[in-house]
């Protein structure tokens, strides 16, 4: 498979570095060309990849690295560090309201996994002892409400719906209902929309203004290509997202979109989805993602070899 060849090439490049006692600037540049190719094959945005390689090169040709006893090791380590840093380590938790209910709004492109992940989150909160409720705000997609109801049933979580009326009205209704029934978390499943669809983006802005969600989570398909930056930036500019859920990581995509989204929004990836079942939700691990994007099982073991 193409990607495996690439991983091989990459370790070749690092091996070449390793075989040199001292590194020259051109050795580093050659290795960085391979890194750049790996990033592009993983769908890391072109500009993000370019900036990344520039940054790593700058750090690598510095005197501490070039004159260290193990320059190649240092370079690999810098690549890994920078990649992990770019993906952000900190806050992966959901921000709970000091006074319930906590409102979590899901948003994103069509088919990215919002409905599925709304249900997965609800199930997670339920297992943590909360009393979440799902709110059906997708009034456009055929059978969207039924889909959420089926998923809600699988999660053992109630679903609030009012048919196809204004989402803000639905949410207000859900808040009243939730108050009476002791639901401390409301998860809003919104319709998929294009980031350039002004009318539908305005709908989300209106929801934000009216109900002030504690979390606005952008749901991003891990297979997304170069356009991930445009999408993430547009949603963030319009709504000020608080985090990202990266979905469909059970495929064989390298998931470079993670890096792009993180780089343009600076917002944390809070969860990853790796399957269609209710339980397929995991916290995000930047270091693992970094290895995956570079197409190497484990970057750290490469450092040990180097």
């Amino acid at each position: 498979m193409a990607f495996e060849g690439l991983a091989d090439k990459l370790s070749e490049a690092f091996k070449r570095l390793r075989s040199k006692g001292k590194l020259t600037e051109s050795d580093v540049k050659q290795a960085m060309r391979e890194v750049r190719l790996a990033l592009l094959e993983a769908d890391v945005n072109y500009k993000v990849a370019k900036d990344f390689v520039a940054k790593v090169t700058e750090r690598s040709v510095g005197s501490e690295v070039m004159e260290s006893l193990t320059p190649a090791q240092q370079v690999v380590k810098i690549v890994d560090e920078e990649l992990t840093a770019l993906m952000g380590g900190e806050n992966t938790r959901i921000d709970m309201a000091s006074k319930p209910p906590t409102i979590i709004m899901m948003c994103g492109l069509q088919g990215s996994g919002k409905t599925t992940h709304a249900a997965k989150l609800a199930s997670l909160f339920k297992r943590q002892g909360h009393r979440p409720m799902l709110v059906a705000c997708d009034i456009y997609r055929p059978a969207a409400i039924t889909q959420l109801q089926v998923m809600g049933e699988k999660a053992g979580v109630p679903v609030f719906e009012m048919g196809q009326i204004d989402p803000v009205k639905i949410i207000k209704g859900a808040m009243r209902f939730g108050k009476d029934h002791g639901n401390d978390i409301l998860i809003l499943d919104t319709a998929g929309r294009l980031h350039i669809d002004e009318e539908l983006m305005n709908e989300l802005k209106r929801i934000k203004a009216d109900v002030e969600p504690n979390e606005i989570l952008l749901v991003v398909d891990a297979m997304t290509g170069q356009d991930a930056v445009n999408v993430a930036k547009a949603f963030d500019d319009a709504l000020g997202i608080t985090g990202v859920i990266l979905t469909k990581l059970d495929g064989d995509t390298r998931g470079g979109a993670a890096l792009s989204v993180r780089a343009v929004t600076g917002k944390p990836i809070k969860f990853i989805g790796a399957g269609e079942k209710i339980g397929d939700l995991e916290p995000f691990h930047p270091a693992r993602m970094s290895s995956r994007i570079l197409g190497m099982g484990d970057v750290l073991s490469l450092i040990e070899k180097a």
Partner: protein, 306 residues
């Protein structure tokens, strides 16, 4: 809306698009040099063409420029579009002349299979064909209800079983119904599945065999639906689905967004599978035949210039 006008509308709104930057570059360059080729390559990568394919296209371009003695940068745009058009042309027509013929629609999760089937059913019905849908996604929550809504919108029949039943049995029944009712086309919806999941791919193989066995002499199309937002992973998708179900064509959806779906060029080059149709929205008439020239135009965003 006319052919591709929707895409162009989307592209017009693309902020910061490299394609428009390249147009600026082409307009500002006075001679054809390496920098210009690099900018073009960058534009292609930004459109998800992938670096290896982008390099191959630029190589052909260099040869053409040399061969034809082109010196005006303005002419380069035309040449590169010619190259891409030539690569993508041919094989667009659906082969469905027998009655019944079968269209099997497959792909990973959330790409637009069910929606495409709804649009296609309406289109074929308008052409005077008697269409039957097979609701063979028995797995995803409310998938059958979603297809039923599309069947109603298009005014065509649908064969359905209960959720969780055997998809191959649904297809079998739909084929039987098609023979009995003298239908012209059976379109089979299938559950979204990632191409790296062996058991799900085997299930697809089983559906293919049922069609082969029941209608060995009929025209059959196996359409792989690809989301234009997808990056390089689409190549893996196409390869695996081709191996399992022998895809005859691609439907490229969500081209009304800002992603350009350039990865289909790599797929055409590597796997020789033509793009047959494009999806440009969520409404019933948002399906268009694929037009290689318009696709090449859209990649370079020419409309913006006029």
């Amino acid at each position: 809306m006319g052919l591709f006008s929707k895409i162009k509308e989307g592209l017009k709104k693309t902020r910061d698009s490299v394609a428009s930057k390249v147009n600026m570059v082409l307009n500002s360059f006075t001679k054809i040099d390496e920098e210009l080729f690099e900018d073009l390559e960058e534009a292609l990568v930004m459109a998800d063409v992938g670096l290896p394919t982008a390099e191959r296209i630029c190589e052909q371009l260099r040869a053409k420029v040399k061969e034809q003695g082109v010196t005006d940068p303005q002419e380069v745009r035309g040449l590169i579009k010619e190259i891409i058009t030539e690569m993508m042309e041919g094989g667009e027509d659906l082969r469905i002349s027998t009655s019944p013929s079968v269209i099997l629609v497959i792909g990973v999760n959330g790409v637009g299979k069910t929606t495409t089937i709804g649009k296609l059913a309406a289109h074929l019905k308008d052409d005077g064909k008697k269409v039957i849908l097979a609701a063979a996604d028995t797995f995803r929550a409310a998938a059958i209800d979603q297809l039923q809504i599309w069947a109603d919108r298009a005014g065509v029949d649908m064969v359905r079983h209960a959720e969780g039943s055997d998809p191959a049995a649904v297809v079998f029944d739909a084929l039987t119904a098609a023979k009995a009712r003298h239908a012209d086309v059976v379109i089979c919806d299938t559950a979204g599945r990632l191409h790296n999941k062996k058991n799900l791919m085997d299930e697809l193989g089983k559906i293919s065999r049922v069609i082969q066995r029941e209608l060995p002499d009929s025209d059959q199309e196996v359409l792989l639906v690809l989301d234009a937002t997808t990056g390089q992973n689409a190549v893996n998708q196409a390869r695996e689905f081709k191996n399992t179900a022998g895809i005859t064509g691609i439907v490229l959806t969500k081209l009304d967004g800002t992603a350009k779906g350039g990865v289909v060029i790599a797929i055409r080059e590597d796997l020789k599978v033509p793009v047959k149709m494009i999806g440009v929205g969520e409404q019933i008439d948002d399906l268009q035949p694929f037009d290689a020239k318009a696709f090449a135009d859209a990649l370079f965003n020419e409309e913006e210039e006029r």
